[in-house]
Symmetry: D2
């Protein structure tokens, strides 16, 4: 399944090159990921209130063409793999049919108290099943 999130590029996100600063894309990825997770029937906020966090452990970004102020980009998000302890996303930032940026993130499921790994399959079986059904390779 491919999830799509539309994001409007903000003025504050530009830099003096006249383009969206490269550090903004991880934030757009996060926004897209949050929306995607919501479709599993659980919000990221609920997740945290139940004591589970999903910190980023790896990030890659490939910058192909720049985005500009007022661009309405679509972030296409895929879950490429999920296990009891980890989840992997891939992203494509599109402007119309142009690919501006691609990227990936991986995440561990950890307890918000101890920062220790949490077995998501046991603690959130419904979430795990739902998210597993979203996986696309």
């Amino acid at each position: 399944m491919v999830h799509k999130t539309v994001i409007k590029a903000r003025y504050a996100e530009t830099d003096q090159m006249g383009v969206i600063h490269h550090s903004v894309y991880p934030i757009w990825f996060e926004e897209a990921r949050t929306q995607f997770i919501k479709e599993s029937g659980i919000t990221y906020g609920q997740f945290e209130r139940d004591g589970v966090m999903m910190p980023v452990t790896d990030l890659t970004v490939k910058y192909i063409q720049p985005a500009h102020f007022e661009d309405e980009v679509t972030v296409e998000t895929r879950i490429t793999r999920v296990s009891y302890s980890r989840i992997f996303f891939s992203y494509r930032v599109m402007l119309g049919d142009k690919v501006l940026t691609t990227g990936t993130t991986s995440h561990g499921f950890v307890s918000s108290d101890t920062f220790k790994p949490v077995n998501i399959k046991k603690t959130f079986p419904q979430f795990f099943e739902q998210v597993s059904s979203f996986v696309e390779e």
Copy 2:
């Protein structure tokens, strides 16, 4: 007492006007304030660990001249008033002897659990006394 903090303007802080984006100054003020508070013998981090927070309740900024990438600015910070429940700061961002920006913030002391006001004079008497001695009108 005037406290001085040197800050180097970052590339990511520029916008497509070629200057430091106006939303960056409240962050520089915060950085300067954090350094200033440290001189009272307590760090802002300790403060929070002891269950007290100091959220901003009012902010004003006056933009006189823009800062640019790689500028090394000096933020001059003053505490203009402190009471058992509130504290007021004023700021001047200087580039050499040019005033780029001025501003003010006010803050309440609140409990991090309840977000209710905390009497700082009672709970942190030493901090209160130290900070009171810094006040400059």
Copy 3:
């Protein structure tokens, strides 16, 4: 006229107090202002391409209640005054019928080459008229 822009609070915009960081509101104001200006029939981007910029000269923010991650807030924006050389906005950030934050910005119209004032009434008469009709006191 009151313009309304809906903004979803991002995870990256939170801080360790568990609320949206106070430096984020000027960015939300800017986003709301950009949308509002668009209704005058001119985008802020076009504006800049025609050599006119609208830098912020004054900013005030009053923080009443915090916003949280995943909140969908509505920024209500008013133009409170416009002259040949300056424009004034006021903002209210609402969560349902709760006022979270209020604020104001003022701006000068300046040339992007010289940073000198531009007479907007002469250079963009249609924009000036449209925006004047939006003014609400």
Copy 4:
């Protein structure tokens, strides 16, 4: 050669997990890279004024341990490769002797007018030589 830049983690850079948000590290990398380039006898600002930009084309980050507010981290930066048209950096963010984060960026040299590749060996021979002498594998 290993270049070292000390950076103090800002409050505004924290998120509601209580740690520095993952999107901040690319900004710290950029700050470190800017300082490193300065040692070649040219500032990044001069570079841009001479019509050359160095946009990021690839970014990777590996998050090992979180940084916290008020941490004074050291970013260790290496240039791992440079050619007439591209440059590659690697980074390690250290807190004392703990590795918090590692990462890499690659960049193209392009004209700020045309966004086309620039032969840096020809246009900035001294910079090219200096930077080449910094390469460490």
